[in-house]
């Protein structure tokens, strides 16, 4: 019996959350220290697992399996591969930095950290799940606390609306996927929810084609896929800073990851069949998201739509069905998670001190908050895909992948979609999509630079000059961790890319393209 690293990583936040609830409400410092300790433990263990994972061997490692509800073939079954391991690390990093920048939160911090940590347990649980039921169980745990976190501690103007919208969207999505999962369970006849065995269930192509959209879109809603992305910017904006970081940084990856694990890996024939048209939706995500970000005045909405655009790239990478695309998707999930957490942290710090997020009202903030300015600018460069930062490392393979992608299986399209099937088979189809989505890079550069210019440079308003101060040491620590990660991956991608590749190979084998 090996040491149960993944179980401990998963349940450390939950244990800390429950412990925190036992403190008296007024012992706020003890609450914060406990939260920090839990985050540090989870991060340390994630780092340990990350660096002891045997890339040469590949596959699922650190596996633990116990019967849970044997009557239904449900087991507690966890393990990590090259795809999920970076995301586990990402979650713990965002958790750590989220605790650091929430240190000053004064309204019921006990409940705040408890709910945040329950959410973190849900997220870890999904990333390490190898059992379909297990995955759903933790998926719901991850989705629900979001409601309370946004509704209670969010931005007073829109929080009730945004929290309810988000919860209902995501709940509907998960229920739709659950129906698909039950269909898989009963059709396989294996009486098991074990994803490793369901992957070998040999579902008929008709079955896979029918159910793939349910499962894929049910989860991809959380990944922000067009036209179901609407909840996401509202949710980002209404959420308090640490929750925005979690939300955009980690939760959206949860959706993309589950769509990959359950949708693509269990129903590969369905993926081969449907991806040639889904790519068009992701194209809308990428381009439309960036244009909408361009016209925002509210800094947080801008980043929210930028997330829609960048997560669109992840979904687009999934549609390529080739090695470059999937490695890029894995890198982009990590890179975007760190980058967007950094953005929301910066915006939160600015809002806390300047009490506005409207770009026209801001200006000259760099004089007052130099650390934030530097961090935001580096984040901006990452977002634009500047070489030397993680965004470049992630987006380049995605574009390469899209360029060389081919529609592998469109023969079964119905009559009225035959034009689409024809078009998808043309040699120019995917290159054209790559070219069009490259527009987004230009637009991204435009809105990021504009935001940097408006917010950090130029004249500072007399009012802000008077009362805006610098951020705390803890804030600076959090920013440094996030910036450091982006630079590290940017300069030394070998630390992550080969690992992700070990996770990609089995997926390609399932897709029959390797």
């Amino acid at each position: 019996m090996n040491f149960p690293f993944l179980t401990i990583i998963t349940f450390t936040p939950l244990a800390a959350g429950l412990l925190i609830l036992l403190f008296p409400a007024e012992r706020k410092d003890e609450v914060r220290v406990t939260a920090l300790a839990a985050a540090v433990i989870a991060t340390a263990l994630s780092l340990f697992v990350y660096f002891t994972y045997n890339s040469a061997a590949g596959g699922y490692q650190f596996i633990e399996k116990y019967d849970w509800v044997p009557q239904f073939g449900i087991s507690y079954h966890v393990g990590v591969d090259g795809m999920s391991l970076p995301l586990v690390l990402l979650t713990s990093v965002v958790m750590l930095t989220g605790v650091l920048i929430s240190w000053g939160l004064d309204d019921r911090p006990r409940e705040f950290f408890a709910f945040l940590f329950i959410l973190a347990t849900g997220v870890f649980g999904v990333f390490v799940a190898l059992d379909l039921f297990h995955l759903f169980f933790f998926y719901e745990i991850a989705v629900f606390p979001m409601y309370l976190l946004i509704a209670i501690w969010g931005w007073a103007k829109t929080r009730e609306y945004a929290a309810m919208k988000l919860t209902l969207y995501l709940f509907i999505g998960s229920v739709v996927s659950l129906v698909g999962a039950l269909a898989m369970y009963y059709t396989s006849g294996l009486n098991t929810f074990d994803m490793l065995r369901l992957a070998e269930a040999n579902f008929s192509p008709e079955f896979q084609r029918l159910w793939f959209p349910f499962v894929f879109f049910g989860f991809a809603i959380l990944g922000g896929i067009f036209p179901f992305h609407n909840w996401s910017p509202d949710g980002h904006v209404a959420a308090p800073t640490a929750v925005s970081m979690f939300h955009a940084g980690v939760l959206m990856k949860l959706g993309a990851f589950a769509a990959l694990r359950v949708g693509i890996m269990l129903l590969p024939e369905g993926a081969r069949f449907h991806m040639p048209w889904i790519v068009l939706l992701t194209l809308v995500n990428v381009v439309y998201g960036s244009f909408i970000a361009m016209v925002q005045k509210d800094l947080k909405y801008m980043i929210g739509f930028s997330s829609v655009s960048h997560m669109g790239l992840v979904a687009m990478a999934f549609t390529t069905l080739n090695r470059e695309g999937y490695v890029g998707a894995g890198l982009q999930m990590f890179s975007h998670g760190v980058m967007t957490a950094l953005f929301f942290a910066c915006v939160g710090m600015i809002y806390d001190r300047a009490h506005t997020r409207m770009m026209p009202e801001l200006g000259g903030i760099s004089k007052k908050m130099p650390w934030v300015a530097v961090a935001f600018i580096i984040g901006g460069f990452t977002s634009m895909g500047m070489p030397g930062l993680s965004g470049f490392v992630a987006e380049l393979p995605i574009f390469l992948g899209v360029w060389k992608a081919k529609a592998v299986d469109v023969s079964g399209y119905p009559q009225w979609l035959s034009w689409l099937a024809n078009m998808a088979q043309q040699p120019w189809y995917f290159p054209a999509i790559a070219l069009i989505s490259a527009i987004a890079i230009v637009v991204t550069a435009a809105y990021v630079l504009r935001a940097v210019q408006k917010v950090f440079f130029g004249e500072i308003s007399p009012e802000h000059d008077h009362h805006v101060g610098d951020v705390t040491v803890l804030d600076k620590t959090a920013l440094s961790i996030l910036v450091g990660l982006m630079i590290l991956i940017g300069l030394y991608p070998t630390i992550m890319a080969p690992l992700i590749e070990t996770g990609v190979m089995p997926i390609l084998k399932l897709l029959k393209v390797a």
């Binding site: 509800v69 009557q71 019921r108 409940e111 169980f137 209670i152 919860t167 709940f171 129906v179 009963y186």
Partner: protein, 489 residues
């Protein structure tokens, strides 16, 4: 059909019921002997007694393997009845605890005695194997509940509640009795397990009509649409602990007889009543949830929510499979724990605010964070969120019905699951709206704490622990439910 001869083991099978009668007598006696100042303790005596009976039942009254018909075929000693009886005694205990400081019922000996006799009646409802026994058990339970619902004599709403409950109950039980008389008249039998064979020679029309008439009576008990009209008014007016009791134990007892009678007596008429159950289940869920959306009073909201919950529990019955019945039993157990927790909080809050309006729950999370948390757990469990019992409850019923739908290629069953899942979303919405008031809204009376007496804290701990236990480690419980369900076929 052979009936077991009378032995001491037969007596052990009804040990809980014997003890219940003794306990009721004890409480009445102490009520006479004790001075007014000590009478609050009567509730503790009742609760402790019920707890003790529960333990003794688990030790001594476990049914033998052969599903014996005892007392001349009046009762059936099987796991299904055993599980339900434990559930009733448990809810009786929790209700006795949460009645301790509830205004109007606290310290009333006869209140607890009637409560115990209601539990007694329900126990026989769950084990009755004979039409006569069944009717007597139902009436014993119902009359006790009519009294309890109208117990607050100075309160118009409570009197209205008792009277309304009585009129509806009397009417539906008459209809049910007519169904019983048809069964007896055409077969000459009263034993449930002899009727099914005897019905083979009876015109199908008679079988179907009597099945429908019987369904009316049971539908009233479980508050399924269209026999649900009494629910909101009775729930609102009755003393809150009794509302809790009616919403869980009485509903579960209704399901116990519903499942047993339909499976034992009418297996041949399945093709008639199963579609009906499917439709009733769909309508019950949808109507309950939709009407709950508009409620401003927490007891009325929980009333409509309980109608919807009955709809989910019916989903398992519609599957007519061991897995489906097991899912229904599991659902009822989880629902009992959950609703009792919710009502315990309602009682504590209304003691301070003197109100059951949802708006008065504003600021609860600041007035009493632990109470708010218990409320959160209960409502999320009702909404079907993991890691709470409600998630597994819903998962099991929907899984069972989908399984049966796939196996029989019956698209109605699949649609039932789809309607159920959509309803879960509506349900989640209004549960969240209440939680929003609890956690988000401010109130002027935030500094006023809400005291939680120890008995209530104990009841809440037991329920919340149970909700989390069922929601994380469901396997042994669904296993027990499966063996109970297996006895019924």
């Amino acid at each position: 059909m052979t009936f077991e001869p009378f032995t001491s083991a037969t007596l052990l099978a009804v040990l809980p019921e014997i003890l219940l009668v003794a306990l009721a007598a004890l409480v009445m006696g102490l009520d006479l002997l004790w001075p007014e100042s000590r009478k609050r303790t009567l509730g503790l005596v009742a609760a402790a007694g019920l707890g003790l009976i529960w333990v003794l039942a688990v030790i001594f009254s476990r049914p033998s393997a052969e599903n014996a018909l005892i007392f001349g075929g009046m009762l059936r000693d099987d796991w299904a009845s055993f599980v339900f009886r434990l559930l009733f005694i448990f809810s009786g205990m929790i209700v006795a605890l949460i009645s301790l400081d509830s205004p109007g019922v606290s310290g009333k000996g006869e209140y607890y005695a009637i409560l115990i006799s209601a539990v007694f009646g329900m126990n026989f409802m769950a084990s009755a194997a004979d039409l006569i026994m069944l009717y007597l058990a139902i009436e014993t339970t119902s009359i006790a509940l009519y009294l309890l619902a109208g117990y607050l004599r100075d309160d118009d709403k409570s009197s209205e509640s008792g009277l309304k409950y009585f009129l509806f109950g009397a009417f539906t039980s008459t209809v049910m009795l007519y169904g019983f008389s048809l069964l007896y008249g055409f077969t000459g039998k009263t034993n449930l397990y002899e009727l099914s064979a005897a019905l083979g020679n009876v015109p199908p029309l008679v079988v179907v009509v009597s099945a429908l008439l019987v369904l009316v009576g049971f539908g009233f008990k479980v508050a399924a649409v269209p026999f649900h009209f009494w629910t909101p008014d009775v729930y609102e007016g009755a003393p809150t602990p009794i509302t809790a009791f009616i919403s869980v134990a009485s509903k579960a007892a209704g399901f116990a007889v519903l499942i047993r009678v339909m499976l034992a007596v009418f297996p041949e008429a399945e093709s008639y009543w199963v579609p009906l159950v499917i439709v009733i289940s769909m309508v019950t869920m949808t109507l309950g949830n939709t009407l709950a959306l508009a409620q401003k009073n927490i007891k009325r909201l929980l009333a409509y929510s309980s109608i919807a919950q009955a709809g989910y529990a019916l989903v398992g019955l519609a599957a007519i499979s061991t897995a489906g019945i097991a899912a229904t039993i599991f659902y009822l157990v989880m629902y009992t724990l959950t609703n009792l927790a919710a009502f315990a909080v309602v009682i504590l809050v209304s003691r301070v605010t003197k109100s059951d309006e949802i708006a008065d729950y504003a600021g609860l999370s600041r007035r009493s964070p632990s109470l708010a948390l218990a409320f959160l757990v209960a409502f999320l469990s009702l909404g079907g969120m993991p890691p709470l019992a409600g998630f597994f409850g819903k998962f099991f019923v929907f899984a069972a019905v989908v399984q049966q739908g796939v196996a029989q290629n019956n698209s109605w069953l699949i649609w039932l699951a789809v309607v159920g899942v959509l309803n879960a979303i509506i349900g989640l919405y209004y549960y969240l709206v209440v939680l929003k008031v609890v956690y988000l809204y401010r109130s002027e009376r935030e500094s006023e704490k809400i005291p939680v007496p120890r008995a209530y804290a104990a009841a809440l701990w037991v329920c919340v622990a149970g909700i989390i236990l069922l929601g994380t480690w469901a396997s042994p419980w669904i296993g027990t439910a499966t063996s109970a369900a297996g006895n019924l076929f």
